[in-house]
Symmetry: C2
Subunit: 283 residues, 2 copies
Amino acid sequence: MSAGGEAIAESRGAEGMLHCVGNGFAPVLRHHLARLGAPDGLPVLICGMAGARQGWREAPYLKTPTRLEALHEGAIRVDAPGDIRILPGIAQARADRPDVMRGEETQLLGVTEPDFTGLVCIPGTHSKWIGIEQGHVVEFSTYMTGELFSVVSQHSILAHAVEKDSPSAVDSGPFREGFAAALASPSGLTASLFRLRASQLLGFEQRADGAARLSGLLIGTEIADVLHRYGVASLRLIGAGPLGRLYEAALKAQDFDVAAVDAEEASRLGLAKAAINIWGAQF
Amino acid sequence: MSAGGEAIAESRGAEGMLHCVGNGFAPVLRHHLARLGAPDGLPVLICGMAGARQGWREAPYLKTPTRLEALHEGAIRVDAPGDIRILPGIAQARADRPDVMRGEETQLLGVTEPDFTGLVCIPGTHSKWIGIEQGHVVEFSTYMTGELFSVVSQHSILAHAVEKDSPSAVDSGPFREGFAAALASPSGLTASLFRLRASQLLGFEQRADGAARLSGLLIGTEIADVLHRYGVASLRLIGAGPLGRLYEAALKAQDFDVAAVDAEEASRLGLAKAAINIWGAQF
């Protein structure tokens, strides 16, 4: 990357946590650096699960409230040739609302100014809503929205009601109905899930619409809780692709003032900011 | 059974739907009748999933509102020697609240008088709450409480937070805390599930307490929605064993007036009432 956060060259891979834990993190990194033709000793900055306890080397969580501009101070160096560092995650170490993030803190750094105050939403497997005051992460909540979609549609009776491998992020009629049902009855999720199945048994809905309705119910429940906690707010949405657009449309329909940012762009900008803070603008 | 609904002789088996669909329902019934030494031509009355479309023979759903005393009128005869009938389920064929039951209607018949008015709760894999007026099932809701416990604790990241095969129905401190958290924030289930994991990562709770907390969150969310829909009510609770007692204690703590009935007893009484209605008191 350039110091401005622009990608100069890029290498992507499908090596996830399981692969890296089994085969070692260093060889995976070396492989990608070689593909990029990177010079020896190029400084490397990493964010996300590589810093988890079961990752490459643990980068202990910073605790809320924590200043995003100081994220780099929590970076740890790995025991390998060159200068390779892993950024820390952030923990909300409160017994009443314990929560953790790894990777999203870097995106937050990327999309906020040092004095930013407001709400940020990062939809996904574990959707995150983050309250930021004057550049400090003060509190956040994680919703298991995406993971519940996957688990319930594969392993519960809803496997009969949701077509396999159907896209979850479709802004269709059934999505909007599921979303509206969840907003109207935010405590009723566990009954709405059964009704999704019953609706098809009784001929009110087709299986082809099951995925969109399930997605609407789950995202609607998440946003109903957010509305309950924060009310309508202006927010930054970090999300690319169909899921990001789905959240954007759904939030705007609830009168949220949404500024959307691409998720990869957010990660790159955050890494660049932290890199400059560590190595200076000439890295 | 005697006409009074008492068991004279009993044979139990583990043959579920999959077994019966694969091997035939008739041989399973013949096997159990033989074990009981039942005379040829003994009338047989069946309730539950044998009457589903994918069962022995479909006994089409009665539609709400429907009178429980007339349940037997919807029974269908199977094409086999002797007089073997299957009781129908009940469907709530409303596009806004579609729902179905098979088996529970027989329990409802068993535990209600012909002019009964009130609420009945049947906890389980698919917990059911049924509103009855003057002996008619007028509306009901099914909550996927038990199935979500099983699916989420086995297939989501909560598999790391819930010990395998741990009993879900334990009236412990973590159960009560989960239950109270759900009542305080009934729209927040999908975030509470993630916090259960985060709480253990951050050392606030032990894995040994994960099952009870998960159970508290899910049952609490169900009862929060019931409170929202009906308010505090007097009700009959059809449930045996630890799960029934857990619901009874939790509901009483919310000032519900609870009369508990054993679930098997409810099924036997319902079958006996329907049998008398079909064959007369001398069957």
